[in-house]
Amino acid sequence: MAYTAGMILSIPVLCLYVYLAKQHPNKNLFQINRSVFGPVLGFIISALYLWFFMTLSALTLTHVARLINLTLLPETPMSFTKLILVLVAAWSVKYGPESVTRYGAAVVYTSILINVAGIVFTFNRLSISHFLPLFDAPPANYIQGIHTTMTIPYGETVIFLMLMPAVNEQRKLAKSFIFGFIAGALLLILNVLHDVATLGCLTGWFVMPSLESFRLLSGSQSIGRIDILFATGLVMQIFFRLSIVLYASTLGLAQLLNLENYNTLPFILGVFLVIYSSSVVTDVIQHLGTASSFVPWLWSFFQHFLPAMTAVVYLIQKAIKKKKGIQLGVMQT
């Protein structure tokens, strides 16, 4: 319920991002900040966004490295896994947004295929009774759930404001962005429904419930351990996300410091991220604890408050300019 309501309530927020992008063609978030707030305040706001992108990159890196250590490479040191992942991501970032996003469609179709396959294979374990009783939690829990889903998966789409100027067909920007968001959100909701139908009240007990539900696959001997397929799909998705957040961080840093190009920075910034990620959160318990306590509020500042403030300031500036234009026109006539 929280994921569905979060998706619906996030659509106006996405429209706000699209509005900002449409009003500032060929400008990314950092350039919009500079244009709306001026060089000083714009620099401060962009620096805050850079911290947000770097922290998001560090948390994503920790997430994907933990998943690999948990499922594929349990003996490998986590910092080594992080380093390899970040170097590959940095390699794609170095060659620009096209190389970062080139395999996006392949990642999406693979994820859909793996999810559908997972539902088919675990079909005999799905139970409608796991959804009962419905709506018996206090209203505060629903509000928290909706706020959390609006910020942690959905609101993070604010990062696409860094990629929007690189889109070839600007006319289709709004349609593609909102359609992509809804498709992604529906896939996520399908995943959550599958987890609950499979695991029931145990869903909340696991760090990665989807992985646990795939471990229950009742295939034959020859197709045992299909959960590894799901883990690989998940690693692909999170790695794709890592490439995008690393691109946003690198481009943001270069623009904040007025560098001619950003392609000298991805590797060193990637190594810095490995170090930074080891200090952001110490363990998985702390990571999950932050997501259910202060993170929805902290992320709201970057995903809802600052874009809304930018739009309001932009509209005021536009109204003032229009008024001045009318006054000048009257004086000239």
Partner: protein
């Protein structure tokens, strides 16, 4: 513990820094050097077992103090 990080940092020093000097991107070189020194210092600190403070957790504590938490 951090040997692989130091190896990558050494490789970057050998391959990327001469390119920056050769292409006369001095501003990029300065920024690159600053990030390099910070990364190297923090890697040494982690290798020596120093617990680094987290800006993320510190901000979280601030949010908790002002009541913006669940």
């Amino acid at each position: 513990m951090m040997l692989h990080v130091f190896i990558v940092l050494a490789i970057l020093l050998i391959f990327e820094v001469p390119q920056l000097i050769k292409s006369r991107q001095y501003k990029s070189l300065v920024i690159y050097s600053v990030i390099y020194v910070i990364t190297f210092t923090l890697a040494v600190c982690i290798d020596m077992g120093v617990k680094l403070p987290s800006s993320f957790i510190l901000l979280g504590e601030l949010f908790k103090k002002i009541g913006l938490t669940y």
